[in-house]
Each structure stands twice: as C-alpha cells, then as structure tokens.
Symmetry: C2
Subunit: 219 residues, 2 copies
DNA sequence: GTCTATAAACCGATAGAC
DNA sequence: GTCTATCGGTTTATAGAC
C-alpha cells in the first residue's frame, strides 16, 4: 500500500507501534523506538521529521494493513439470506470472528490497543483516522445490522453498532484492571470464550428486541 | 472525607485532576499543575512528596467524593420489590441516573475521563484503585442485577455488569471520535437522551433474556 | 543513509533563604 | 509554608563527520 516504507522506515514503524500502544505518544521516547528498531537515535527525525509524523504513519500503517476480515462480506451475505437459521448462524459467526480477531491466540494485540488509545487521546490525525477507518467500517457494520434487522431506523442501527463496539472496546482497554479484578494473569481461552458467548447473547437479545428474526444457535 | 486537604493541597489536587485526565500522568508536568493551582513549583513535592503520590491522591479524591448516588441503595430497594412494574421502573431509573451522572448538564466531566484513563493506562495505584473503588462498586452492581434477575449465575452477573460499564465507558472514552463521526460539536441533551434510551433498551433486553421479570416502561 | 556529538529545552526533585 | 535557584537527568532535534 505504501511502498515508501523501506527497511529502516518500516523497522521504525513496527518498533514504534507497540510502544505507542502501550505508553502513548508522550510516554514513548524516540530513543526507545530507535533502540527497539536497532536504528540510530537520529533515524526517526531523519526519516519522518518528528515523532508526531511517525505516530501518524504508524496509524496509517495499522489502518491500511492489519484490520480483520472485512465486515462488508458478512453484510453482503446477510442481504442474500432469508432463512432464520442461516441468518442466526451468520450473525453468531460474525460476532465470534470479530471478537476473536482482537484476541489472536498468539501474536501482539497492540493494533487494537493503539486504535483504542487513539480514540481516547487526541492525536494529530484523529480526523483522518475517523474518516478513513472508522466511518467506512461503521457504515458496513450498520449495513449488516440493518440487513439482519430491516425494521431498524438509521439512528437505531448506529446505536446498536456502538453497543457492539463498546463491548469489545471495553475488554481491550480495561484489560489491566479487569485482570486485577478477576485476579488473573492474562485472558485465558476459557475466559475469552465465556466473554464472547456473553457478548453474542447480549447482541442477539438486542437485535431480537429490535425485531430481528434470529435465535441464538445452540453451541 | 479527607480533612487533611487544606487550601494549597486542595488547590493542587483540583488543578491536577483535569490535567491528569486530559494528558495523563506522564504528559502532565509539575510546573503546569503548580501554575494552574497558582502555587509554587515546589509545592507538589513539598505537600505530596512526588507527582505519583499526587496522582493517587487525586484518584482517591474523585473516588470518595464525586461519584454518583450509591448503587447499594438501588440494590437494597430492588431486594424488597416484588411487583414487576416497580422493579422495571427501578431498573430504568437506575440506568438513567447512572448514565446521566457521567454527563452532568454543567460542570466538568474530567472525573469520568480520569477514571477511564486509569482503566487504560497502567498507573502506580491501579491495584489500590481496583480494590478500593472498582471492586466494591462492581460488587454492588452485581448484587443489584442478581436481585432483579435471581436466576443469573455469579459469572453471568459479572458479565452483565461489564456490559453495563462498557456502554457508558464507550461514550466517555470515545467522545472525540464519536463527535467527529457524527459531525457534532458536543453531546447535546437530545443525543444523550437517545443514547441513554438505547442503553436502557439494550440492558432490559439482556436482563429479560436472562430471565428477569421486567418490561421497559413507557417513556 | 548512518553515525557521533551536542545544542537547547524541559523534566522532577531538592537545598536553603525567608 | 512559600519562594528562588539549581542540580542531575532526560527529552527532541540538529549539525557535521563519514
């Protein structure tokens, strides 16, 4: 997507990602980034001009590359499905896929955390991120919801999408206190399955309340 | 609650609150706090020993003073209520009170933002905050849910409480992008009413799905 | 393009006068 | 308890050799 990311630039972006996600823009030093990228202290300023520019580049990198399987596919499938059973299955699959895409069995979850942090913290490129990432994705999500539940108004679909986003956002952002609260070391697969099951159940109850012809499939 | 907060100490705590909420612990300098509090640069270290201690003190101040009407009152009332209509009314009132307590018509909303930031960012006193603030409050909330919906297991009540927290958390944390997304300047009362109405509807659908004998009261 | 060296500013914390 | 002055450390950013 962005061929101008050569070796060092790419290394800097990939080193900065997890650091920004964990410590924020102000809490991450150029030195820490350079050290992690095995690059020189001056590399960031040479390649990006400033730390803020690098932050923007990292967000662009995350947004254009590593997002989950497109929501639009589910929406298209939902629009062509009539059977109550198939529609229910489709929604359940979407929620599960979507939930677990933020908690891969292995690998870093800093993409999600960085996105979440960008939501919370005013960043130099927030307007850009909203327009280029959140708006299109949210639009697809609303389309999926309205395909499943044709009776919903636009505003209701928007709020339902918020409810969906809120659930996953919460488990990502509040991970540290949740773990302390539950006296756990890390989210284990069993907990994630329970959480995903609860979210699915809540979303089904919500959509059914709004008139969707769906029933929670037996596990 | 804490009588040892005299003039200057109180001024420092009240000056630091909004700054910590907006810029975080690392992003807020002692000098900025002192300037806002019209105090000397050395005042923070003199009165609190360190910036981190001040942060903890601010959180304690927020937690012990400005939180909403205690959840325990609702729980106690719910445990003594049998009528389906009264129980429904009680739950609806609780959700509305609780939602709107985070969006007062006037006055600062930095309390909520600071709490949210504490959720996101590892702070020196997170364990303390979890034990002293989140755990008791969550316990009361779970109690309320189980009083309304006696069939729920402990784990189910915990997840339902998470769902409740997630909804409000989302509207606070993601406020900036939501406003950009909706092309609004600020949450207006009409939007907040719609949002609260949606949250109420979702929670009712969820609790009914878990077996609670409640019905959404007509507005 | 990569490195060293360093400038210029800022930070938290403290010593000491008042 | 409040203030000034300052220390020691870190930050971003840059100048200049290679």
């Amino acid at each position: 997507m962005n061929p101008s990311l050569d070796g060092t630039k790419l290394a800097l972006v990939e080193a900065a990602g997890p650091l920004f996600a964990e410590h924020g823009l102000e809490g991450t030093s150029i030195r820490a980034i350079a050290e992690r990228a095995k690059a020189n202290v001056a590399a960031v300023n040479y390649h990006f001009g400033s730390k803020e520019n690098l932050y923007t580049e990292v967000l662009r990198h995350v947004a254009t590359r590593v997002m989950r399987r497109p929501v639009g596919e589910y929406r298209a499938e939902a629009e062509g499905t009539r059977s109550r059973r198939d529609l229910s299955q489709l929604v359940a699959e979407f929620i599960s896929d979507w939930f677990h895409s933020y908690f891969p069995p292995e690998g870093p979850v800093w993409h999600a955390r960085l996105m979440m942090r960008t939501l919370l913290e005013p960043s130099p490129s927030l307007q850009q991120i909203v327009d280029q990432v959140f708006r299109p994705e949210h639009s697809e999500l609303e389309g999926l919801l309205r395909a499943v539940c044709p009776g919903m108004t636009e505003e209701q679909a928007r709020f339902c999408a918020f409810t969906l986003s809120a659930q996953i956002t919460f488990f990502i952002m509040a991970k540290a206190p949740i773990l302390l609260f539950l006296r756990m070391r890390d989210y284990d697969p069993a907990f994630l399955d329970s959480a995903c099951g609860h979210v699915t159940r809540v979303v089904f109850a919500m959509l059914r309340d709004y008139g969707a012809p769906i029933t929670l499939p037996a596990t």
